[in-house]
Symmetry: C4
Subunit: 311 residues, 4 copies
Amino acid sequence: MAIFNNKNKQALELGFGSKNYTNRVRFLDGEGNVNVHRAGMGIKNLDIYHWLITTSMLNLIFVILAGYVTINLIFAGIYFFVGPQNFGGLDAVTSAQQFINLFFFSAQTITTLGYGHIYPIGNAASIAAAVESLLGLLSFALATGVLYGRFSRPKAHLLYSNNLLISPYKNGKGIMFRIANKKQYELIESEAMLTITLNNPETHKREFFNLKLEISRINFLPLSWTIVHPVDEESPLLGLTINDLEKRDVEIIILIKAINDTYSQTVYSRKSYKVEDIVENAKFKPLTPEANKNGRVRLVVTDIHLYDLVF
Amino acid sequence: MAIFNNKNKQALELGFGSKNYTNRVRFLDGEGNVNVHRAGMGIKNLDIYHWLITTSMLNLIFVILAGYVTINLIFAGIYFFVGPQNFGGLDAVTSAQQFINLFFFSAQTITTLGYGHIYPIGNAASIAAAVESLLGLLSFALATGVLYGRFSRPKAHLLYSNNLLISPYKNGKGIMFRIANKKQYELIESEAMLTITLNNPETHKREFFNLKLEISRINFLPLSWTIVHPVDEESPLLGLTINDLEKRDVEIIILIKAINDTYSQTVYSRKSYKVEDIVENAKFKPLTPEANKNGRVRLVVTDIHLYDLVF
Amino acid sequence: MAIFNNKNKQALELGFGSKNYTNRVRFLDGEGNVNVHRAGMGIKNLDIYHWLITTSMLNLIFVILAGYVTINLIFAGIYFFVGPQNFGGLDAVTSAQQFINLFFFSAQTITTLGYGHIYPIGNAASIAAAVESLLGLLSFALATGVLYGRFSRPKAHLLYSNNLLISPYKNGKGIMFRIANKKQYELIESEAMLTITLNNPETHKREFFNLKLEISRINFLPLSWTIVHPVDEESPLLGLTINDLEKRDVEIIILIKAINDTYSQTVYSRKSYKVEDIVENAKFKPLTPEANKNGRVRLVVTDIHLYDLVF
Amino acid sequence: MAIFNNKNKQALELGFGSKNYTNRVRFLDGEGNVNVHRAGMGIKNLDIYHWLITTSMLNLIFVILAGYVTINLIFAGIYFFVGPQNFGGLDAVTSAQQFINLFFFSAQTITTLGYGHIYPIGNAASIAAAVESLLGLLSFALATGVLYGRFSRPKAHLLYSNNLLISPYKNGKGIMFRIANKKQYELIESEAMLTITLNNPETHKREFFNLKLEISRINFLPLSWTIVHPVDEESPLLGLTINDLEKRDVEIIILIKAINDTYSQTVYSRKSYKVEDIVENAKFKPLTPEANKNGRVRLVVTDIHLYDLVF
């Protein structure tokens, strides 16, 4: 997508620079995910664990429930095929009710609940039950791993200001945005990297530039951090208007790296701003954190969105 | 909170420097936690896993017990609503005792104990029991993750000397404190970073300065480490008295980074000293580790608090 | 095997350079594993957990099933030895069927299923069952760890181009290959290191050289990355023909290091090319990623294998 | 213990240099553990999880078995106190046998086995069983964490040569030892750091020096690595005899840092050599790894101990 540490021409090597996309491109989607679909590997592209770890909790619950019902249906079918007469305590009369009771027997077996008011008598039934209980334990071993993996996954819960401002800065201008930590844990050793990508109207190629930052690394992030790129002589933005940015399909790509000190994990957060997120001649409102009588400081993190227009 | 690697003016960018707090501020509380409350995100501020991992063991046990009782009450209610006649082996006569027995049946189901002297007969009762046993397994999967997460969480068990001393150092003075590892595992590649924050009485702004250390990194920490900031020409402390420090609401913020070599985890420890922790004209007593006849060295770590006054 | 950061003579210290192997050597096998067998430690060489984590899923399932059957056979034997009369509900008549039923009882015990239609009466039988259920829980604790360890293991799913090309590059030649990520997660901060190893026909020793790269580090790997070593004045390849490379048993060893940002894990990937993988006078076909109307880019990753001959 | 990156005088700050220990000191014991006992914190020194993770498997099994028996004895006592008449299916006559059967009932409850041929009737018995089954699940959650923690713990299984040799090296001498990986996984980016500690007979203080290495970092460790400190002008060893080393209670402390690429974990290994491990005028025998017809190299790792005397 972009090379932060290198010069523009090297973007070619990444396979992005070889053409001017006909459609507008958005390299990072709204949630900061890289907006690329990698095809061609068939089912080898699938990564089930990755999906289970990153999908929404609702999806996960649905998958678990659906899997639980399905596997019980399969084993109820097996038990029914083996024959209801091979189960003690199964006093249902109709086939349908026998199947239903074997479904419940299956659920009691796969969870290793084992009330025992229904129990296998014959060898075939006992073998199927022995297999099902093993399968149950392994499945719940997997579920344990997935749930632990989800909760312990390194995450940076960063809030980005809704807008990227073009503000007066020193004797010229600067582009700036603010970030804050949404959660109560601490982020330390935070680093920011900015890349801008533009179409070059002359070469009809997409160019990538690294944007220099006034401060690119801070040790704590207790309140908010205003990240500033000065539009100076060396900036690729010098002399460009909002109109130019729109025509050239600008995208400003942000990568934040920090350490979540609860787990000592390095965490990453990405975000991109498109031209519609940029506000000219605006300045962020100063935050007003207040200390209570115990010296504890309170900050309303959503205030980082606020700005004033300047003329 | 502070920028270790940068100059004072940059503190402004962190949102701390914009005002002189009316109340005294304490940026790190007594346990080294950042003393900031981040509001404004509503329930999105909540981080249940983080709380479960970091809360006291007593709180955790209480939450588990309360959850266990609550969920059994809910399922006992469901079973009672379904009807006690749908449960085999439930020979209680009064409604109250039926409810109590269904509560125990619920406990036997959610833990997948399943004695089976009480068992579901009807379909509704069986479905509820099948759901409860699944829920039980998932809950205990979660509990496994939380317990593992708590125990395997990277931690540095550092003991800090109670006081920060202003001692004679070379031809001038130095501020110094000592740390030691409370536990038997080893910390390697330890690094220390010190920041001081003061109110500036002229600008009415809070300033942050990085304090240079005589040694900022050591490879082993078998006994104790005395961390020294020389008060030399470049030190922001030069010429300030204890009185000045108090008036200007000083706070000295310490960040220690090390590797716990049992788990190869990078661990962090924080601490802050306020003016009441500072002792002038004092020197740490030398530690007296002694080797036994096998060459094993014994150290009383609490001796790091000890100091002598010097005149 | 090779020293990336050092000069050739130092290969001697690694124990590789001391002789010219009589047979052809392949230091990395087809899957990128180091092709060395370390003998001499006896069973201390074994690393069961490592095997369970890295073996194929099929092998693992086989081991689990075989272990399950074996342990149930052992406990069935113990229960049979204790005496079938010590088990309530065991109404089989023949010894064979008694043994089979005790096998199923064992399975119900080790999984903590415990239907209870068969149950231990005497003390010896009860003790054996108490031990077996404890063993069961610990085994499944282990299985949980192994399954979690497998799924959460850091992996880089890199696709390497089938061939290493010798292409026109600037005013001379370059050797180049392409990599792409097979999966949908992102790799960031990717770094590449190349080493070449050749027999020296004069000294009859195997030499190792580090190959300089045009770009050795990129921040994102959304599409593909063409890694290029320019064959310039400083290159150990200058002046060598394909024939020379074959005679001198060349192997080009690649180590890629990146961060899998789903888990914030550093991952490694290795690959080696032998002379049969090298294609002269060829150029990689440009990739043609296309953006859809939402700005999402689609790439067929297997296209990285494609090249054109140039004359 | 030692400062790798700094000069000798700084050892004082670590609390080691303040005295010349009366007894001989061994800073690292035979297994590379730091030979320091940290006292003074009372039970806050305890670190149960650390012990469970690092103790021998035999100790762990003993602790688990002892805990299992103890907790079942406690609950058997509670059940017995509640009254055997509160348990269905408990048909023992003597008190002793009732207690024994309640012990087995406890085992069936804590493992959530729950055969159900014995079951609680009264409320008190049911409550105790509900608590015990919860406790059982939490205990096995803990056991799962401990077993996973043990197996997944980052380890470097390095074999060090039994001796440290003083060998001819270039125009002078060098001290050298060899390491090899005992296991089949790979170690990459290995780094070595050497410190020497000696008593200073003049100042009666213990001094620490960093020893420069010919090569301090290699990218792969497929076979063996001979780590060499040249005894040149800058070496603190220049001019010292074996006799001097003995008198001054020398200890050479080694810290190896590497990445285990199966788990992408940074691992550490430590070792110390005392004077009795040093051999003068000796040279390591070259290793003779041999490639089979598939190009796979075989190495007998224990050959790293072998050396020849030179005169």
